[in-house]
Amino acid sequence: MTAPTLAARPVTHPVADSLTMVRRRLVHMRRYPSLTIMLIGQPIVFLLLFAFVFGATMGAGLAGPGGGRTDYLVFITPTILLMTVASVALATALAVATDMTEGIVARFRTMAIARVSVLTGHVVGAVIQTAIALAVVLAVALLLGFRTGAGPLAWLGVVGVLALATVALTWFTVALGLAAGSVETASNTPMFLLLLPFLGSGFVTTDSMPAGLRWFAEHQPFTPIIDTLRGLLTGAPDLAAPAAAAVAWCVVITAASYLWAKRLYARRTDS
C-alpha cells in the first residue's frame, strides 16, 4: 500500500519554495519600511540613552576615576547589538501570528509546496532584516565614538555569535508567534526578551548584583552571549568558557524552538 503511493508522490521543492517565501517577506518589509525603521530605532534609542544619560557615571564606575562615556559605550555596544537581534525577533513573532490569521496560509496548504517553507521564509527573511538592522546600529555606535582594536578573526567571531543568536531568537519567536492565540498576545509575550539584557551582564557587571539576581544573571543565556561579544571586541584573553556556553545556549534554543514551531505549525494548520 505504501510503495505505489510513494511512487506517485510529486516532487516538492523545499529550497525553491523557501526562497519564494523569503521574497514574499522581503516585499512585506519593503512595503512598510516604517516597521523596519522602528525596529532599528528602538536599540538606537537605548544606545543614546545609556551613552549620554548614564555614560559618564557608569564609565567612571567601571573603569575607575579615569573612565568616562567612551568606556561605557564600549561596554554596552555588544549588549545593544544583541538587543537589536531581539528587537527584530519581536517583530517576527508578530509577523508569524498575523500570517496565521490570513487566508493566504490556508491557500498555501492546499498547494503542493514544501510545508515548512512558510516558516523558513519567515526565518531567513528575519535574518536578513536583522543583518541590516545590526549594520545600522553598529554604524551609529561608531559615530558616537565606539572604537575597537578587534582584528578580522575577532570580527568573524562577532558575526558568528550574532548569527547564532539571531537564528536562535528568530526560531524562538516564530514558535511564540505560532503559540499565540492572537496577534495581540504575539506582540506581548516576547517582550521579556528586551528585559533579559538588564537582568544579566548587559549594562552592569553581574558581581554588583544581589545574590539571587546575580545567580539568575549568571545562568541566563544572554549573559554568556554578551560576555563573548564583549570579550571579542575588547580583546579579552580567555573566552573559552563564555563562548562555549553561548554556543551551547544558541544551539539548544534553536533546536528546541524549531521542533516546537514545527509541531505548533502542524497543529495550527490541521484543525
Partner: protein, 319 residues
C-alpha cells in the same frame, strides 16, 4: 483515469468535537462537469470543501480526488486542484501582480511563462488597472476575482469554489458565472458550494442538497425544481368582482380576498401565457403580476419538511 470520477466520496463522516457535522455523505463528480453543493449557512459545505482540498482530515470515509486517495496521497491531490475558499486568501500586503507572481513561483513556472500567465489573468479578470495596488485596498468583488485568478495560475484540472458569489453585487455575480462557464469549456471540473438555487441552476450539471449532515437530494437542477412546488404567479386585481371572475376562470388558483390576489402555480413562460389568455377571456385584467421562482427555501421545505435556518418570511404555500 478518464472514466474515474474527478471526486468520489463514500460514507464521509466528520465531527467538530462531539458535534457531528457530516453524517455519511456519498457523492461522485464526473470529470469536466460542475457539481453544486447546495445548503444553508452551517450545513457543512465549507467542511466538505476543506476535507476534499486536504485542509481538514475527515474522521471517516473513502475519499478520492483527481484520481488520488486523500488519506495517503495528499500532495498528489494538492498538485491537481485549485481552491478558492469562502474567505479571501490573498496577501493583502502584496499587489495584484505580486500575488499572482507568488502563485506562479510556487507552481515553479518558468520565469517568462509566469509573467505571461500573470498578465493574462490580470487581463481576464479585469484587474489590469489595479495590478500595481496592494490587494488590501481592493473592493470585495476585486478581491474575489484576484482570489479566483490566483487559483487558476497553475491551471488545475479540478477547482473548488466555496460560496464564490456570496456578498457580491448582481453584476459581479453574473461576471463570475460567465468565468466559471468559460472554465468548464476548457475541460476543468468544478465543485462549488452555494446557498442559491439560482446559482446552482445557472452553473451546475448536478446538484446535491446538504441537510442534517447528509445529502437529502441529488440530481440535475431541472429535476430538483420539479420537487419544488414554490413556482407561482400572483395576480392582483382592482376589485372583488374581477377577482371572483378570475378565480372562476382559473380553478387552480388560490384567491386571497383581503389582498385581492390570485395565486396560480406556474413554472414557465407557457404557463404564464396560458394564464393571461384565460384571464383575458374572462374579462378580468390584472392590475399587477408578480412571478415567484422557487428558491433555496422552497427546495428545503419541499425536501426536508423544515425551513432553512436563515428564516425568511414565507408566503403560505399552496395547499
Amino acid at each position: 483515469m478518464a472514466t474515474e470520477p474527478a471526486i468520489s466520496v463514500a460514507d464521509l463522516h466528520h465531527a467538530y468535537g462531539t458535534r457531528p457535522v457530516l453524517r455519511g455523505v456519498d457523492l461522485d463528480v464526473a470529470p469536466g462537469t460542475v457539481f453544486a453543493l447546495l445548503g444553508p449557512n452551517g450545513a457543512g459545505k465549507t467542511t466538505v470543501v476543506k476535507i476534499l482540498s486536504t485542509l481538514v482530515r475527515a474522521d471517516a470515509g473513502r475519499l478520492r480526488v483527481a484520481g488520488h486517495d486523500l488519506a495517503t496521497e495528499p500532495d498528489a491531490v494538492r498538485a491537481a486542484i485549485g481552491v478558492t475558499g469562502q474567505f479571501s486568501a490573498v496577501d493583502g500586503l502584496l499587489t495584484g501582480t505580486e500575488n499572482l507572481q507568488l502563485m506562479a513561483d510556487l507552481h515553479h513556472l518558468p520565469r517568462a511563462r509566469g509573467r505571461a500567465r500573470t498578465r493574462e489573468l490580470l487581463e481576464q479578470f479585469d484587474l489590469a488597472d489595479a495590478a500595481g495596488r496592494p490587494a488590501g485596498s481592493y473592493s470585495g468583488g476585486m478581491r474575489r476575482r484576484l482570489d479566483l485568478a490566483m487559483t487558476l495560475v497553475g491551471t488545475p484540472e479540478l477547482i473548488f469554489l466555496d460560496e464564490p458569489t456570496t456578498g457580491l453585487d448582481p453584476r459581479s455575480r453574473r461576471d463570475l458565472w460567465t468565468t466559471v462557464r468559460a472554465l468548464v469549456q476548457t475541460g476543468v471540473t468544478v465543485f462549488l458550494t452555494t446557498q442559491y438555487l439560482e446559482e446552482a441552476d445557472q452553473l451546475a450539471d448536478d446538484v446535491g442538497v446538504l441537510d442534517g449532515g447528509r445529502l437529502v437530494a441529488r440530481g440535475s437542477p431541472a429535476h430538483l425544481k420539479t420537487l419544488v412546488p414554490g413556482g407561482h404567479v400572483r395576480a392582483r386585481f382592482a376589485g372583488h368582482d374581477d377577482l371572483a371572475a378570475a378565480a372562476g376562470a382559473v380553478p387552480a388558483g388560490v384567491p386571497d380576498p383581503d389582498a385581492l390576489t390570485l395565486q396560480v402555480p406556474a413554472t414557465g413562460v407557457p404557463d404564464l401565457r396560458a394564464l393571461l389568455d384565460r384571464l383575458d377571456a374572462a374579462g378580468a385584467a390584472p392590475d399587477e403580476l408578480t412571478v415567484h421562482t422557487p428558491d433555496l427555501d422552497d427546495v428545503f421545505l419541499a425536501l426536508t419538511g423544515h425551513a432553512t435556518s436563515t428564516e425568511t418570511t414565507r408566503e403560505v404555500p399552496a395547499p
